[in-house]
Symmetry: C2
Subunit: 209 residues, 2 copies
DNA sequence: ACAAATCTGTTGCATTTGCAACAGATTTTA
DNA sequence: TAAAATCTGTTGCAAATGCAACAGATTTGT
C-alpha cells in the first residue's frame, strides 16, 4: 500500500445509488463477465474471489489472474488484438462492482459522492494492481521452478515476518500462478524438502535457512 | 489507448517550472535510479529508452522491464520485500521526468497547470502500464517458446494489420522479454521457418498462415 | 453422512529448454 | 575508418520440465 488510504472503507462507506455503478452477486462457477466486447468495463471485487481464465485456440485452459476482495480488474486492462477468449468466473460466492471507465468521468445525475471518491482513489487501486502484476512477472521470469518457489517463499516469509507461513493457494493453483506443470512443482518441492531447505505440512511452509 | 487523450502532448505542452517535478538527462549506460530506497518515486520517459534490470543473489542479470517514450515506471510499482536489487539504466540518451507520488497531491507553490494535468492523466498512464504488463504475462504464461513466438507474432500482425511486420526488439532482447534462453529461441524460430509457418529476414517476419 | 469432485503426492518416460562454445555479421564508439 | 562490442546463427549435450497415469487424501455438495 502506497499511502495510508484504506480501500475497504472507501468502498463500503458509500451508499451507491447512482446508475453508472452497478453491484451484482454471483455464485460459485458463474461467469462474471467476458473480455470479448469492447466496453471499457472496470470491476472491483467487493467480496469473494474470481479467476481470470484464458482458453487458447487449442482449448487449453489457464488461470491467468486471480482477484480477491478489493482487487480491480476488467477488459480495459487487456491489450486488444489477442486471440484468446478471456473471461472471469466466480470461484465462490462473490459480490462485484461494475462501472465503465469513460462514464466515470461524466457528471453523475445524482451527484453522488461515491463517484468522486472512486475517481480520487482509482490511482491507488491501479498502483496496487501494478504491484501485483510486477510481482507475478518477477516470479514468472525466474529461470527455474526452484527459484520461483524460493523467491515466492522468501516474499511470504518477509510479509509475515516469520520463517513459518501459509501458502494462500492450493498447490494446483500455485502451479498455475507460476505457469508450470503441477507434478513438476510437487517434485521440486520434494527436492527442497529432501535437501533440507524447507519443511512442509500441508500448505504450511517453514524456511530452514 | 483507452480514450483519445494524447500522452505526448499533455506532457510537452507544459512548461514545467515547479519544484515538485524534475527532469534529468542521461547518457547511455548511466544509472537513472535504483529501487532500493522507499521514496515513492514515479518516473516518465520523455525521450529515449531505459531498462529495468534485476540482479539476483547469485549475480544473474535479467532485464525485467523496458520503457520507452511516455512509459511510466518507478519503485511505487514494485512490491516491497523483494531480495533483488532493481535498477534503471539508460539504454541510450534519455530524458526522464521525476516526481513523488505523495507530493503530487499537495498543492504546488507555483500553482502550475502541469500538476493538475498530470494528476488528471495519471490514470491513463497507469492503465497503459497495466496493459503492457498483462500482455507480457499473457506471453510468459504460454507453455512453450513456440507458443510465445506465435502469439507474439499474431499480436504484431494484427497491430500492423499486415502479414509482414518488424519485431521491435533484437532477438537477444526478445529472449529476455520471454525469459527464455536466446539460443533456444533461435532454434525454435528456425523450426518455425523449416516447418513453413513463417518467413524471416533479419527482424522482419512474414506469417504464412 | 455419503457420494462426487477436487487436490495431493508420486513415478517413468518423452520432450523441451538451457548451457557452453564458437564463428561470422552487424553495429557502435573512439 | 579501424577496433571493439554486441548480436546472430548454430550445434551437441546435460538438465529441467511436461505429460500421463494412478491411488489415496481432502473438500464440497446434496
Amino acid at each position: 500500500m502506497v499511502t495510508n488510504f484504506d480501500k475497504k472503507n472507501f468502498i463500503k462507506n458509500f451508499k451507491i445509488n447512482c446508475k453508472k455503478i452497478q453491484i451484482k452477486k454471483f455464485l460459485k462457477g458463474e461467469t462474471v463477465t467476458t473480455y470479448i466486447e469492447k466496453r471499457n468495463q472496470i470491476c472491483i471485487v467487493l467480496s469473494g474471489e474470481v479467476d481470470l481464465i484464458r482458453y487458447d485456440v487449442n482449448g487449453n485452459k489457464t488461470i491467468i489472474g486471480h482477484f480477491v476482495e478489493n482487487d480491480i480488474f476488467g477488459e480495459v486492462f487487456y491489450p486488444a488484438n489477442t486471440n484468446n477468449e478471456l473471461f472471469i468466473t466466480s470461484v465462490k460466492k462473490s459480490e462485484i462492482l461494475f462501472f465503465t471507465y469513460d462514464t466515470l468521468f461524466e457528471k453523475c445525475e445524482f451527484e453522488c459522492n461515491f463517484h468522486k471518491e472512486l475517481m480520487n482513489n482509482l490511482s491507488e487501486l491501479f498502483i496496487d494492481e501494478i504491484i501485483d502484476l510486477n510481482l507475478r512477472i518477477e516470479l514468472l521470469t525466474k529461470r527455474s521452478i526452484r527459484e520461483k518457489l524460493l523467491s515466492y517463499f522468501e516474499i511470504l516469509s518477509k510479509r509475515s515476518m516469520r520463517k513459518i507461513f501459509t501458502i494462500p493457494y492450493t498447490y494446483t493453483d500455485l502451479a498455475d500462478y507460476f505457469s508450470v506443470d503441477r507434478s513438476s512443482l510437487m517434485r521440486e518441492l520434494k527436492m527442497l524438502i529432501d535437501e533440507g531447505f524447507i519443511k512442509k505440512e500441508g500448505n504450511k511452509i517453514t524456511l530452514l535457512f
